[in-house]
């Protein structure tokens, strides 16, 4: 049986990679995918603690996180499409204001 701390360490590493991607990437879609990576790292921590504490609530939280991530992806990608129509660019340097 793998100790729960190894799951948590993996979760922290994935979260840090998500933060790094969010900061260094210039393409807005890749930045968005880095956010998904962070959400998944947190999900892994939820599941690991759920197993560690013998409580199913953690897994339910993961369901809610997945639902919110789906809603976020739908709205966020729609915003990206709307911005691309007016700016003709996907670089975050050009997308510095939300006003169309």
């Amino acid at each position: 049986m793998v100790p729960v701390s190894h799951y948590l360490l993996l979760s922290v590493v994935l979260f840090s990679l998500g933060v790094a991607g969010f900061l260094i990437r210039r393409n807005v879609i890749t930045v968005f995918m880095s956010i998904e990576l962070m959400l998944n790292a947190v999900n892994l921590a939820f599941v690991a603690f759920s197993r560690h504490l013998g409580n199913l609530d953690g897994q339910l939280f993961v369901f809610f996180v997945i639902v919110v991530a789906a809603a976020e992806a739908a709205v966020g990608l729609a915003i990206i499409i709307a911005l691309y129509r007016t700016r003709e660019s996907l670089s975050v340097d050009d997308l510095d204001s939300m006003k169309l």
């Binding site: 100790p3 729960v4 922290v12 994935l14 210039r26 599941v47 197993r51 997945i66 499409i81 996907l90």
Partner: protein
């Protein structure tokens, strides 16, 4: 079991690195699908079978398809290096290292070797999850449905031709 965990964890970390380091968005998206699938395998190993299935269907299936479709729709190419200052990575890398070290310290200190869970394996099938969802978490569940509705409407309004 343990060996499988370390193999899959290694695949997940490598694929996550690839998500961050690839300059072409579609490569990042494909790497992210690998991360999501390896996380599903980890969920299976830890005994969250239903969650693993949902992860593959909803995340790797639905959400990532949306990402790949948008990447193709907008014809997102290899990103060109900007003319920004190099200060952000230079300052960010040590901060990220501190963040990692802090977490490693806390986790190793709080959960030393041998503090393995004594909890019995959970029944995390659809019946148990559904029972909990509709008994203890009815209100969040209903709010979630409103959230999804708002997201659908918002996406439709935003993606209309004339805004």
């Amino acid at each position: 079991m343990a060996a499988l965990f370390y193999i899959v964890a290694g695949v997940a970390v490598l694929a996550a690195l690839s998500v961050v380091l690839q300059r072409t968005p579609v490569y990042s998206a494909l790497s992210l699908i690998v991360v999501l699938c390896s996380l599903a395998v980890l969920y299976l190993l830890i005994g969250a079978e239903f969650l693993a299935v949902i992860q593959v269907i909803v995340y790797a299936g639905a959400i990532m398809v949306l990402f790949v479709l948008v990447i193709m729709l907008l014809n997102a190419r290899r990103e060109t290096p900007g003319d920004r200052s190099r200060l952000a990575p230079l300052l960010g890398a040590p901060l990220l290292a501190v963040f990692l070290a802090e977490f490693f310290f806390v986790i190793v200190k709080q959960l030393p070797r041998g503090s393995e869970s004594s909890a019995a394996p959970l029944d995390s099938g659809p019946a148990a999850i559904g029972g909990l969802l509709f008994r203890n978490y009815v209100l969040p569940f209903e709010v979630t449905s409103v959230l999804i509705l708002v997201a659908i409407l918002g996406a439709v309004v935003l993606a209309k031709k004339e805004l």
